[in-house]
C-alpha cells in the first residue's frame, strides 16, 4: 500500500468500515510509515478537538424570544 492509497482509505478507517483484509494492509503500512501514522493521529485529534469545544456560544435570551414567538403562533389551546 502506498501513502496515497492509505490516505484515500483514511475516512473508512475512522468510520470503521474497512474489510478485515484492507484493514490488515492498512495496519501493515502504518507500522512502517511514520508519516501516515502522524497524519492518522493528528486527523483524529482534529475531529476530536472540534467535537469537544464549543466555539460559538449560544446568545442569551434566544430561547425566551423563540418561546414567545411560538406562543403567538400557537393555534390550539396553549
Amino acid at each position: 500500500m502506498k501513502c496515497s492509497e492509505f490516505l484515500a482509505l483514511l475516512d473508512d478507517l475512522m468510520d470503521d468500515s474497512l474489510t478485515p483484509e484492507v484493514r490488515a494492509d492498512f495496519e501493515q503500512h502504518l507500522s512502517g510509515c511514520e508519516h501516515c501514522e502522524v497524519i492518522l493521529n493528528t486527523t483524529r485529534k482534529t475531529i476530536e478537538i472540534y467535537r469537544s469545544h464549543e466555539i460559538y456560544d449560544l446568545p442569551a435570551g434566544l430561547r425566551e424570544r423563540l418561546h414567545a414567538a411560538i406562543m403567538t403562533r400557537c393555534k390550539k389551546s396553549c
Binding site: C3, S4, L7, A8, L10, D11, D15, E34, H35, V38, I39, N41, T42, T43, K45, T46, I47, I49, Y50, R51, H53, E54, I55, Y56, L58, P59, L62, R63, R65, L66, H67, A69, I70, M71, R73, C74, K76, S77, C78
Partner: protein, 213 residues
C-alpha cells in the same frame, strides 16, 4: 434498563417521536423541550454556514418556527433531528443569498483541490496541544481555522464530524451524492489538520524556551 426489550428484539422508538406527538396535540411545553435539546446544534450549524452571529440568531429562530409550523408535514420515517437540520441548513443558505444579492451561493460550488495529494509536513502534535492555549485562545484558533475552509467542505465537516449525522443523512441534507460527501469530508479533515498543525506541532527541542525566536 432496556436490556430485556433488546433481547426480545423490540425496537424502542426514538424519544423525539413522543415529543413530536405531544406537540401535535397542542402541548407547547413539549416543543420547548425539543428546542432545548437541539438549539445548540441549530445555532452552530447556522453560524458555520452564515459566519455571522446576527444571521445565525435569525436562522435559529426561523428554523424552529418553521419546524413548528410544518410539524404536520413531518413524516415519522426520518428523525426529527435530521429533519430540523435540513430546515436549518436551508434557512442558512437563504440568509446567505440575501446578504450576497446577485451572487449565487451554493454548497455545490466548484472547489479547487489537488486530488489525492499527500500532505508533506511530518510534524506530530504535542501530546496535549490544548494545554498551550487558554480556552478563549483555543476557540479563536478553531474558529479562524474552520472559517478558512471552502464553504462546501465546511458544511460537510460540521454535519458529519461535529453534529454526528451519518454520511447518508449528510448527503440527503445537502443534496449531494454519497461519494461527494465522502471526498469533501476527507479533504475537509485533512485541510483542517494541516492548518491546525501550525498551532499544535511539537516544539523543536527541550532546550527551547518561551523567549527564543
Amino acid at each position: 434498563m432496556s436490556t430485556i426489550q433488546s433481547i426480545a428484539g423490540e425496537l424502542e422508538p426514538h424519544p423525539d417521536v413522543a415529543l413530536v406527538e405531544r406537540v401535535r396535540e397542542g402541548d407547547v411545553a413539549a416543543y420547548d423541550e425539543l428546542v432545548r435539546k437541539y438549539e445548540r446544534q441549530v445555532f452552530r450549524i447556522a453560524q458555520h454556514i452564515t459566519q455571522n452571529r446576527e444571521d445565525a440568531e435569525d436562522v435559529m429562530q426561523d428554523a424552529f418556527l418553521k419546524a413548528y409550523e410544518k410539524l404536520d408535514q413531518f413524516q415519522g420515517n426520518s428523525k426529527f433531528y435530521t429533519w430540523l437540520v435540513r430546515i436549518a441548513v436551508n434557512e442558512s443558505l437563504m440568509r446567505l443569498r440575501k446578504r450576497r444579492t446577485g451572487k449565487m451561493v451554493s454548497i455545490d460550488e466548484e472547489i479547487e483541490t489537488e486530488e489525492g495529494s499527500v500532505p508533506r509536513d511530518l510534524a506530530d502534535w504535542a501530546p496535549d496541544p490544548e494545554q498551550n492555549y487558554n480556552q478563549a485562545e483555543l476557540a479563536e484558533i478553531l474558529r479562524k481555522t474552520i472559517q478558512g475552509l471552502p464553504q462546501g467542505f465546511r458544511i460537510v465537516f460540521v454535519l458529519r464530524d461535529v453534529e454526528g449525522l451519518s454520511t447518508e443523512e449528510t448527503a440527503e441534507t445537502l443534496n449531494l451524492s454519497i461519494p461527494a460527501v465522502k471526498s469533501r469530508l476527507l479533504r475537509a479533515r485533512l485541510q483542517l489538520r494541516e492548518r491546525l498543525s501550525r498551532y499544535f506541532h511539537r516544539k523543536k527541542g527541550p532546550g527551547e524556551t518561551r523567549n527564543e525566536k
